[in-house]
Structures are given as structure tokens and as C-alpha cells.
């Protein structure tokens, strides 16, 4: 899913990011650590959105709401059966895959050929249905799951910081590696790659395009479920918890460029660190939300003005 020559650019960006990171380490070490942690989370949530956008060509505006469904599923397993959130990761992924496939079959599949207006509207409607259903089941009261390990911390070079959220970096690397392996080495992955490049051509050479779409949608939502289980120990669970992730994910996808999965991790780290820096500036805490939207708007506009849509 990468154009020729982008590997070189990837190294340049990586090098730039590492240099920046070292500079920030000396200036504000905790900002760097938390930036990397948050950034990995943004990236791993963005990967499935990018996958659906890249292969199906649908911008899933309900992305964040699927994440919220995952959070509530994990919370419910904890409350009713006492399952540890980390142990729920697999069952929650399966639940989310089923939910995702159901939503896909009932709605998204019908508008694949209907143009972007219908797709934007229908995923927006799905987002609303999911969040309002959660509201009517769980009310708007925030819930939390407390685990002993989620606030573990360590000291490194005289700086004290929480380590639990490094799990996001591990998941991000794992998911990224797994996806690359899947796309390059498996038959279904190669078919997926082909559908992403040219659905008509893929259909002509005998690829079951409809199955690939179904599979990609289910897999993407399953990844969202996996992440949500690991988020539960650290976030408060409420009906709007996942909503901001839709925009953040799209921002990263736009930054990386469509089809550039490695770029999403880099973009995520950059965005996470930038946010952490803004938060570290006195009085800047309230402005960190603007960072995401500002970056998103700038990236989209700069692409438009360079003529690449």
C-alpha cells in the first residue's frame, strides 16, 4: 500500500521525529513520555479507520462510536462477571466484529455504490444510533473500572511516569506488523490489497470483492474492540467517550496519506507529542483540543492546494 519512494520519506520523517523527541526529552521529559503513549493510542485507533477508508472507500463517521461500544462491552464484562479488562480483549474483539459485520450487512453494504453523500449520511446516522442506544441502556453517568496495575509507574533518569499506557505502543506496533504481514503474505491479504487498488480489476481476476469488503470491515471493528479493552483501565466510560477519536483518526489518516499505514503511527506520535507539549505549557491545557482540529484542517488544506485530493 505504499507508493515507490515513500520508504525513503518514511525514514526521513522517522529521523526527524526521533531528533525532535530527544530535544523534547531534555526540555519536558513527561510530555514526551505521555505524548508517545497518547500518540500510539491515536495511531492504533486510526489504523482501522484508514483501512476501511482505503479499501472500501467509505469514511466511517461511526468509528468513535464503535470504540465506545467496545468500552461499554469491556465494562459490562467486568461488572457482571468480574473479568479483567485485559482478559476481555479477545471476547470484546469478537463481540465488536459481530456488531461491525451486522452493521455492515444492514447498512454500509447498501450504500457502497451510492456515492459519498449517502455514505457520509448513513455512517453519521449509525454513530447517532449507537451512542443514543448506549445512553438509553447505561444513561450518561460516567463509569470507571479500577485495576491495580493501571497506575503503575517507574523512574527513568530521574523522571517518574506511568508505564501502563505503553501497552498502546505495543498494540500499535503489533497491529501494524500484523496488518503488513497479512496484506503481503496471505492470499486474502493480497486480495484485499488488490481490491484497495482497483475493485473492478480485482473482481475481473476472480476476487470475491464483496467478501473482502465484509472481512475488512469486520476485522477493522475487531481491532477497535481490541484497543477499547485495553483503554478501559485508564479512561472513564461514557456515551461520548469514543466520539473525538473519529476526527483524530481521520486527521492521522489525512496526515499520513491514504494507504500509508506506517505513516499513521508516525503521524500519531507527532500529534500525541504536540498535544502533550501544548498541555505542558502553562494555561495551554484547554487548547490541546484545538491542536488536533488545527492540524487536521491545515493538512487537508495543504493537500488541496497542492492539488492532491
Amino acid at each position: 500500500m505504499q507508493a515507490a519512494g515513500s520508504a525513503k520519506r518514511l525514514y526521513i520523517y522517522t529521523a526527524a521525529l526521533i531528533v525532535t523527541a530527544i530535544i523534547i526529552w531534555f526540555w519536558e521529559p513527561t510530555a514526551l513520555v505521555y505524548g508517545i503513549q497518547r500518540g500510539s493510542l491515536y495511531a492504533v485507533v486510526a489504523l482501522p479507520l484508514a483501512l476501511i477508508l482505503g479499501i472500501l472507500g467509505v469514511l466511517n463517521l461511526a468509528h468513535g462510536e464503535f470504540l465506545t461500544v467496545g468500552l461499554y462491552a469491556t465494562y459490562t464484562l467486568f461488572r457482571n462477571y468480574g473479568w479483567d479488562p485485559m482478559a476481555s480483549a479477545v471476547p470484546v474483539s469478537i463481540i465488536l466484529a459481530v456488531v461491525g459485520i451486522g452493521v455492515y450487512l444492514l447498512t454500509v453494504r447498501q450504500v457502497l455504490k451510492a456515492g459519498h453523500l449517502s455514505q457520509l449520511l448513513i455512517t453519521f446516522g449509525i454513530a447517532l444510533v449507537l451512542s443514543e442506544l448506549l445512553k438509553s441502556i447505561y444513561t450518561t453517568q460516567p463509569r470507571a473500572v479500577f485495576t491495580t496495575y493501571s497506575y503503575a509507574f517507574t523512574r527513568f533518569a530521574g523522571v517518574r511516569f506511568g508505564i501502563y499506557e505503553f501497552v498502546y505502543l505495543a498494540i500499535a506496533l503489533g497491529v501494524l506488523f500484523g496488518l503488513q504481514l497479512f496484506l503481503k503474505k496471505t492470499r486474502l491479504g493480497q486480495a484485499t490489497f488488490a481490491v484497495g487498488q482497483n475493485p473492478t480489476g480485482a473482481a475481473i481476476v476472480g476476487i470475491n470483492v464483496r467478501f473482502v469488503y465484509l472481512f475488512v470491515f469486520g476485522l477493522s471493528i475487531a481491532i477497535v474492540g481490541l484497543v477499547s479493552a485495553f483503554m478501559v483501565p485508564r479512561v472513564s466510560v461514557f456515551p461520548g467517550a469514543g466520539t473525538p477519536f473519529t476526527m483524530k483518526s481521520f486527521a492521522l489518516t489525512a496526515m499520513a496519506g491514504l494507504g500509508n499505514l506506517n505513516g499513521i503511527l508516525l503521524a500519531g506520535l507527532a500529534l500525541g507529542i504536540l498535544e502533550a507539549i501544548v498541555n505542558a505549557i502553562p494555561g495551554g491545557a484547554g487548547w490541546s483540543d484545538v491542536v488536533v482540529f488545527g492540524v487536521l484542517i491545515l493538512v487537508i488544506l495543504s493537500r488541496a492546494f497542492r492539488g492532491a485530493r
Binding site: L121, V129, K135, V290
Partner: protein
């Protein structure tokens, strides 16, 4: 002829509502007209083929600018409503040079992001705007007189309907239809695409600003969460979809139907009654892309064995 008479009767009934209806009904219809106007503006922008998610953003800008003018500069509330619309229009004009170069999902997502940017910026200027807790104005518009407020919003809604009708008879109508159907073809036929997009964007944004300003003055209150609420995007959008997009009658009918339905729903399900809006959006896109009015009209036509010529809506 029957149609014309019916419209006149509707207008007369609506205009005389304060004479016999109680305060509850007045407030319900007041809200319906606010959403109806927003719905029409959203639809007018959609007629150019651009799906805007920024309705709530321009609404909020108009609301805040008008509230600030009254609270900090002592401007007359009615004048502040005009200025609120003007401010939203100027912002739309400046943003338009950048945003209107975007198409499809990029336009939609950018307008959605702009709404959040406006809200966050306003929340982070507590000295000017009152921050997250908002701002209460010294007195409401017309001292809170329900009948006068109702007539005001009714007049605004009639004005927006008028603009929408005028647009569908003007040269602009052909230009924006051409842009929606095939932008490249429109451009090669000599349509100045950017000019028309900018005109529509500024026009609809100014109206949204005026409605927002009126809303703020009527309740004498602005607050980031409430003023930039997604409801000001969501409800108009659902109303236009239900009534049928690319028309004046669609948003009008949709607003009345959904407005009345939502009042009922609020009573029977306090949590999550918006789920119905979500379902409506999904179902309309799936099964009635031409909207309720055209769906019903077609059913009637079929019953009367009169073939109706439908144009595919949303089908680009």
C-alpha cells in the same frame, strides 16, 4: 389552485397561532421554525453538492457575536441579530477561500472540525465569553414576550423559505445544479464554480448566523456546549432528509413532522430519544432517498395511475 389556497391557509393559521394557542404550543412551533430555517440552509448548500457539517458552527458564531455585542457594547438586540448574521457571513467568506477548494468527505470533515474549533476557542477565552459556563444576557428579546418572539421567528422562517424559493427560480439554481451533477462539465460550460459555491456558502452561513443570534437573544443565554450543540446540525439534517432534499417543501414538511414527533418522543423516552433521529437518517438514506414528501407523492400518484417523473435524489 387548491395548492395555493392550502398554502395561504397554512400561513394564516401559523401567523395567528399566538392568538389562540397556549405558551407550550408556541414554544414548540418556535423551535420548529428555528430548525426549519437551519434545515433549509443546510439543504441549500447541499444543492451545490457539498455536504456541510458546519451548520452548528456558524449558528454558534452568530449567537456568540450577537450576545457579545449586546453584553459588551450595548448594541440593540435586534441590530445585534443582523450583525450576528453579518459576522457569520464574513467568517464564511474568509474561510470559503480555503474550505471551498475541498470536495466530498474533505469538505464535510473540515466543516465539522471548524465547528469544534469555534467552540474550543470560545471556551478558552473566559474573560471575553464567560468560558465553559457561558454568559447570561441582562434581558431577553422583547422582554421574553412569547407572541412577539414567535412572530419574529415565523417571519425569519418565511424569509428563508422565500430565499429558497427565489433561488430555485434564479439563474443560480441552474448553475448550482450543474455543479452538483458534474463539476467538470459545469466548468467547461463557463460556470464560475468557485463564485457560486462562495455565494451559497456565505448566504447559508449568514442565515445560520442570524438564526443563531435570534436563538441567543430569545433565551438571553449562550454557552459553548449548548450553543454549538450537535442538535443544530443533526435535527436540520434529519428534517431535510425526511422531507426530501434539494427542495424547499422538503425541509419545511420535514421540520413540522419531526418537530411534532420529537416533542412526543421527549415525553415518552427521556434518555436517548435522539436514537429515533439516527434511525430516521439511516432508514431514509436506505429506503427513501427521495424523502418523505416525494415518497408519499409517488404513492399517491401511483394510486391515481398518474406517472410521476422522479429525479434520483442523493444518487450521485
Amino acid at each position: 389552485m387548491g395548492k395555493k389556497a392550502m398554502i395561504i391557509v397554512c400561513i394564516l393559521v401559523a401567523a395567528s397561532l399566538p392568538l389562540y394557542a397556549g405558551p407550550y404550543f408556541l414554544s414548540v412551533f418556535n423551535t420548529i421554525f428555528v430548525y426549519m430555517s437551519l434545515s433549509l440552509t443546510w439543504d441549500m448548500m447541499l444543492r451545490t453538492g457539498q455536504l456541510s457539517y458546519g451548520t452548528a458552527g456558524l449558528f454558534g458564531l452568530g449567537a456568540y457575536s450577537s450576545a457579545l455585542l449586546v453584553a459588551k457594547a450595548g448594541v440593540h438586540p435586534l441590530l445585534s441579530i443582523v450583525l450576528g448574521g453579518l459576522f457569520a457571513g464574513v467568517v464564511a467568506f474568509l474561510l470559503g477561500f480555503a474550505v471551498l477548494r475541498l470536495r466530498k468527505i474533505y469538505f464535510s470533515i473540515t466543516t465539522l472540525a471548524l465547528t469544534s474549533v469555534f467552540a474550543v476557542v470560545i471556551r478558552n477565552l473566559p474573560r471575553l465569553t464567560g468560558g465553559a459556563s457561558g454568559m447570561v444576557l441582562p434581558s431577553a428579546l422583547f422582554s421574553g414576550d412569547a407572541a412577539k418572539n414567535y412572530w419574529m421567528v415565523f417571519a425569519l422562517a418565511l424569509g428563508v423559505i422565500g430565499i429558497s424559493l427565489w433561488l430555485s427560480r434564479s439563474k443560480t439554481h441552474y448553475a448550482i445544479n450543474a455543479i452538483r451533477n458534474d463539476e467538470i462539465a459545469a466548468r467547461s460550460s463557463g460556470v464560475d464554480v468557485f463564485k457560486y459555491l462562495l455565494f451559497m456558502f456565505v448566504l447559508t452561513s449568514s442565515i445560520q448566523g442570524v438564526i443563531g443570534a435570534f436563538y441567543a437573544q430569545q433565551y438571553a443565554f449562550v454557552q459553548p456546549e449548548a450553543t454549538f450543540s450537535m442538535n443544530f446540525l443533526l435535527l436540520p439534517l434529519a428534517m431535510a432528509l425526511v422531507g426530501g432534499v434539494y427542495s424547499t417543501s422538503g425541509p419545511v414538511v420535514g421540520a413540522v413532522v419531526l418537530g411534532v414527533v420529537s416533542e412526543y418522543l421527549k415525553l415518552i423516552m427521556p434518555y436517548g430519544h435522539l436514537v429515533v433521529y439516527g434511525l430516521i437518517i439511516v432508514l431514509v438514506v436506505l429506503f427513501m432517498p427521495r424523502g418523505l414528501t416525494r415518497f408519499v407523492a409517488r404513492q399517491l400518484a401511483r394510486r391515481g395511475r398518474v406517472g410521476g417523473a422522479d429525479r434520483a435524489a442523493l444518487g450521485n
